[in-house]
Symmetry: C2
Subunit: 390 residues, 2 copies
Amino acid sequence: MVVDMLYPPFSLTTLPNVGSFANRHNFSGGPGALPEPVLEQVQEAIAEAPGAGVSILGVSHRSAWFREIVEETEENFRTLLSLPKGYHVLFLQGGGSLQFSMIPMNLLRGRGRSSDYLETGYWSRKATAEARKEGAVRVAWQGDHEDFSRLPTNDEIALDPYAAYLHYVSNETVEGLQFHRVLGSEETLRICDMSSDLLSRPIDVERFGLIYAHAQKNLGPSGVTVVLVRDDLLRDIPAGLPAMLDYRSFVDSHSIYNTPPVFAIYVMLLVTRWLRQDIGGLDAMAQINYAKAERLYRVLDGSAGFYQGHADKDDRSWMNVAFRLADRTLEARLLAEAGEAGFTGLEGHRSLGGLRASLYNAVTPQAVDALCSFLEDFRLRHREFAGERE
Amino acid sequence: MVVDMLYPPFSLTTLPNVGSFANRHNFSGGPGALPEPVLEQVQEAIAEAPGAGVSILGVSHRSAWFREIVEETEENFRTLLSLPKGYHVLFLQGGGSLQFSMIPMNLLRGRGRSSDYLETGYWSRKATAEARKEGAVRVAWQGDHEDFSRLPTNDEIALDPYAAYLHYVSNETVEGLQFHRVLGSEETLRICDMSSDLLSRPIDVERFGLIYAHAQKNLGPSGVTVVLVRDDLLRDIPAGLPAMLDYRSFVDSHSIYNTPPVFAIYVMLLVTRWLRQDIGGLDAMAQINYAKAERLYRVLDGSAGFYQGHADKDDRSWMNVAFRLADRTLEARLLAEAGEAGFTGLEGHRSLGGLRASLYNAVTPQAVDALCSFLEDFRLRHREFAGERE
């Protein structure tokens, strides 16, 4: 039960420049920004994918060229995550939402056991609701559905030692809550939705049975989902599942069971290459991401209450910073001014409102620096106005 | 039971130039070629999608901009197909293969009725196998599994008047077989996999309850699937289906239930715009496609047996021309020489072997003309050699 990683706060100015975006700083919650060097290569590949002889949009998924693309992408995941032997790397469709159903279909149905789910935010609630359709679900901890502003302590989580597995969401994208530790005991079969933080920092994959993540945060464009699954979990999948919903179809075919999302996988190859070659791996990426988040939280905390972070401090996400203004009537104005200043995607999720800055891998330290300056400037210009209203 | 459309053979030289590809002529069975004007617009959108302010790969699926993209794409389908009222146009993930399961899950489970399936080729067999997992299936006609070189006559199809629905595949991509008529009687609820011919010619949607097609033939890149479904079919969908496998989730959310494949939908918008504006609709597209196929079949038929078409003449597909050489030892040589001459994607499907030229919408008449010239030249250079071996 260790805090997985803690980085000393350090200055953004010491960080490498990891690419700057031409016109806008995109803080969208997802699909999020992609690295500029990747976008340049994607543009080329639309005309002709290097080595394929045709546009990436017209490449046959049965070509030797595409098999190599899948192999290298898989290899990049294995290297970046120091993946131990015995794990499969699968590329599927349907997003995290289809995994909400595939996991209990494959790993809960017919086991005569129940599963443990944590309800820590918008997305884990959705996962729980879908799991209930497939088998027995115990909620091992439940946050305040109206608020979801904190994560449980270990003592608060009531694990069932006989559960088929424990499912939780490592980073709640909507509320900006992130577990900075691995949950459960050594006996727990952990299944984790890492849709919004996979490849944002190192993780100890060995402690999980299955990890999944849709691509549109840190991995690539929407339309492809990555599943890392330990081989022994495949042994007891019930017979008769639809082929498209049975993990073994994708294991046996190396993710080319039917026509995969060729383009999205190709972009993911370019993103994982960028992570390995330009960034230098997940330790370096984590340092950058920590510094970005730390910089922004410092602005919120130093605003004398003008800005109010949503999450409890210990549970703050490095990826999604959800916040409000003490004077809520100013929020629309901030969004409008931010838009004019070249910042996009700062609206809070429709279920929560307020504001949210998502700081995925491709969001540069420079973009975060610019946002922080904007927020400080906005506060100075409006603090009296806000004070008058309180 | 009418032949839906018959076009007089006419010369390719009278056809409009619908764009020519720079380097290669791509005859891939899928993902297939896309129109060059579309590729140019996609390149621009990778940098910045017009009106969105950011790359198409970083646009939020909850933005007003993207909702308009979905609406216009849907509207283009409605216009191109003269869609009657009461049909939904849905954009899903998972390809045709996931529809093989979603259809019986939504429309067969718990009905106390069986369904009729036609096994006319590789893909319809796959559909039948998946349907059996969800409910009762009767095979109303079965082709020769080793060959699949013809389609049934109406008299050969044994329909069950009490069937929940009749499922068939309008165009068998692997074998190059295409129904040039609508099957069943007025009482039949028709469900049709049009993955490889939707938007290649006009169809009478009103005669179908549900039509589906993955995009990577005529509609766009892989990663998105189009479903046209009549509203009344949604009434009896069983409760408790996974949200991602229940058509109503996508009806209620206008195809934005979870993060959709934003990029693939955007490309589909560009392709359907191209069909409306550059080609002039499906009548024009059908004339072009008929002429392309007719030109190539004429080369096969006029080769004195050097080339041998796979499908019976009445059942020949306009989209996929599967053929062999009488001297099979020459096939590898043809593929090699074709590659050198700038033709790609001519390998037959791995289940059938031989050769296949796919003539989807974006394959230009000029490309087909070039292929025909190449094939005639190859024959002239090799006919004696072939003759000597027989």
